[in-house]
């Protein structure tokens, strides 16, 4: 428990460090935020610019601005967008769950399929299929994910017109809650697959490696010699060993997945944080940028913590199992 508390404290410190880094970066950048805020209406009028500076506190020192930002963040206020007429929090909130939905689905897909493929190829490590799986795996994470996405769009827009290739919902949708979920699910298939495919390759190799490791271990040899059926051996014990590193790595890669999600969201017009971030970059909408960086970093930290916890829970069982060999 104490460990956990310490980790929490570290995490808060980490968040503060991230805020500092991002804030400094944006502050250091050339260009005048006041001009950005003014848009084109007041940009020529020095009085308007001065007013904006005063309103947004842009005339204060860097430290003062940073301090006031941190204080506001602690109160849950991430400021207002320079472009949209609303608070950053409301913008992020609207886009948050589509991204989480996308990433979670992709993760589950990648883990489940990855582990299955990994197990299969581990049992027949020298087969041609196994080698092909390896090559495919390598191909999977060598392909730029935006390219994969574009190819899928072409495929499903021109050839197999069975899945929607854009958006999260049918705009004219007019059904009940359940039907609504089905609609979202339909739209989710392609983007989640594209994102998951990237990592699937990776997880299958991880699972395979772990499986190989375990299948040769003393423990499994003992179990086999005791006459336990192959299936029990594989699916009860080796499986657990295969899944652990996959789940752990997946958790640690959450940040990478978020990066990939930016791409996938834009190719498939998925209304998530990734698209919001990119729009903000295009418009130098600093508060939104800071907000998205902060929220995504928070997500990564939380997931890391969770992964750690999960790993500790699952791991002792393995230790017990191996020691018994």
């Amino acid at each position: 428990m104490k460990r956990f508390a310490i980790r929490m404290l570290w995490s808060i410190g980490l968040v503060l460090a991230v805020i500092f880094l991002n804030f400094s970066l944006i502050h250091l950048a050339p260009g005048d935020p006041a001009t950005v805020i003014a848009g084109e209406s007041g940009a020529g009028d020095p009085a308007v610019i001065e007013q904006i500076r005063a309103d947004y506190g842009l005339d204060r020192s860097f430290v003062a601005q940073l301090a006031s930002y941190v204080v506001r963040v602690a109160q849950g206020d991430l400021g207002d967008s320079f472009f949209f007429n609303q608070s950053v929090v409301s913008l992020i909130w609207a886009r948050l769950w589509p991204t989480i939905l996308l990433v979670a689905t992709a993760l589950i897909f990648a883990i489940v399929v990855g582990v299955l493929v990994g197990i299969f190829t581990a049992r027949r490590p020298e087969s041609r299929l196994s080698h092909s799986a390896t090559i495919l795996a390598l191909a999977g994470y060598s392909m730029p994910v935006f390219w994969t996405g574009l190819m899928l769009v072409i495929l499903f827009a021109s050839v197999f017109k069975v899945l929607p290739i854009s958006g999260m919902r049918d705009v004219q949708f007019d059904g009940g809650l359940l039907a609504s979920w089905v609609d979202i699910g339909e739209h989710l298939i392609l983007p989640a697959f594209t994102l998951g495919f990237l990592f699937l390759a990776q997880y299958s190799r991880l699972a395979r490696a772990s499986m190989l490791e375990v299948l040769q271990s003393d423990f499994v040899r003992t179990a086999r010699s005791k006459g336990l059926s192959e299936r029990v051996v594989v699916y009860k014990h080796a499986l657990r060993n295969a899944v652990i590193p996959v789940v752990t790595v997946a958790g640690l890669q959450f940040g990478t997945m978020l990066s990939g999600a930016i791409l996938v969201e834009t190719v498939f017009n998925w209304p998530g944080l990734g698209r919001l971030a990119f729009d903000a970059v295009l418009r130098r909408d600093a508060p939104v940028l800071l907000g998205v960086l902060l929220v995504s970093t928070l997500l990564v930290i939380v997931v890391n913590l969770l992964t750690d916890v999960v790993y500790r829970i699952i791991d002792p069982r393995i230790r017990v199992g191996s020691a018994a060999a």
């Binding site: 980490l14 991230v18 250091l28 950048a29 050339p30 730029p144 574009l150 990734g274 970093t297 930290i301």
Partner: protein, 271 residues
């Protein structure tokens, strides 16, 4: 052992092919990728149109592919060099000294590690400009933590070994021990990691160029895809070929890295 791995050898050949194309290609296929040579968006095989078709401006796609590698490789190489320099240094110091230094450096590493890579790189390039150097720096900033972690892990593992203790016993300086004793032994996983980092840097550069955050004065594969993206559904060749080029290049690095990894850790092959 590396050479027995067919995939790895294939990767080596691929990489050689890419390098040849990048450095010799422009002399063999002597077209200027920025010249407007024909009407825009004409597909491969159309009359009066060069081999792989033309892009949205009427430029030669093949020339673009042949010349685009140089930018991507150059940016990626510089980025990789930065990553290795920063990552290995921090990782080595952290792993070797341990304690407070280790703690502090790891916390610092964590700050960069939790930032989603592409997002942060996007912000840096958008704020400071897309010149090749700045793109390299941005990429370097987001990818170094993993290399630092790896180096640290290796150093942690190795620093208690006999030969290190022996070196300390004879009074070698810390720097000497780090550089001459431990680092060479830590090289195998680091080399593997570096090849993968190169692949990663190429993808990141392509992605940024695709976003419009690249130097438009240079030809680059990512830029080609980005510029032609609106037309890809009618003019697939403008997007497919540059994409293939990126894919093949990164794949070659992946295959090589994989092969090296196999060579250093035979157990993975599951004998």
């Amino acid at each position: 052992m590396f050479f027995r791995n067919k995939a790895a050898v294939a990767g080596l050949f691929l990489l050689l092919g890419v390098i040849l194309m990048t450095f010799l290609g422009p002399y063999v296929y002597d077209e200027d990728p920025k010249d407007i040579v024909a009407r825009p968006l004409k597909g491969p095989g159309t009359e009066d149109v060069p081999g792989l078709g033309t892009d949205y401006l009427g430029r030669d796609v093949l020339a673009g592919v042949v010349n685009g590698g140089l930018t991507s490789l150059r940016v990626a190489a510089i980025a990789a060099a930065l990553i290795v320099m920063i990552g290995v240094t921090i990782g080595a110091v952290s792993g070797f000294y341990g304690g407070v230094i280790d703690n502090a450096l790891m916390r610092f590493t964590e700050v960069f590690q939790v930032l989603p890579a592409l997002l942060f790189a996007m912000v840096v390039v958008a704020l400071f400009g897309p010149s090749p150097w700045k793109v390299s720096i941005a990429i370097g900033l987001v990818l170094w933590p993993q290399l630092a972690r790896l180096t640290r892990a290796e150093f942690l593992r190795l620093k208690n070994m006999e030969f290190v203790k022996a070196a300390q016993a004879i009074g070698s300086s810390d720097l000497r021990i780090i550089m001459r004793v431990i680092l060479p032994n830590a090289l195998p996983p680091l080399i593997v990691a570096t090849t993968l980092v190169m692949g990663g840097a190429i993808l990141l550069e392509a992605g940024l160029a695709f976003l419009g955050l690249g130097d438009a004065n240079e030809v680059s594969w990512g830029l080609m895809i980005g510029q032609n993206r609106t037309n890809f559904i009618t003019s697939w060749w403008t997007v497919t070929f540059p994409g293939l080029a990126i894919f093949v290049t990164v794949l070659s690095f992946s295959l090589i890295g994989d092969g090296l990894q196999d060579a250093f850790n035979p157990k993975l092959r599951g004998r």
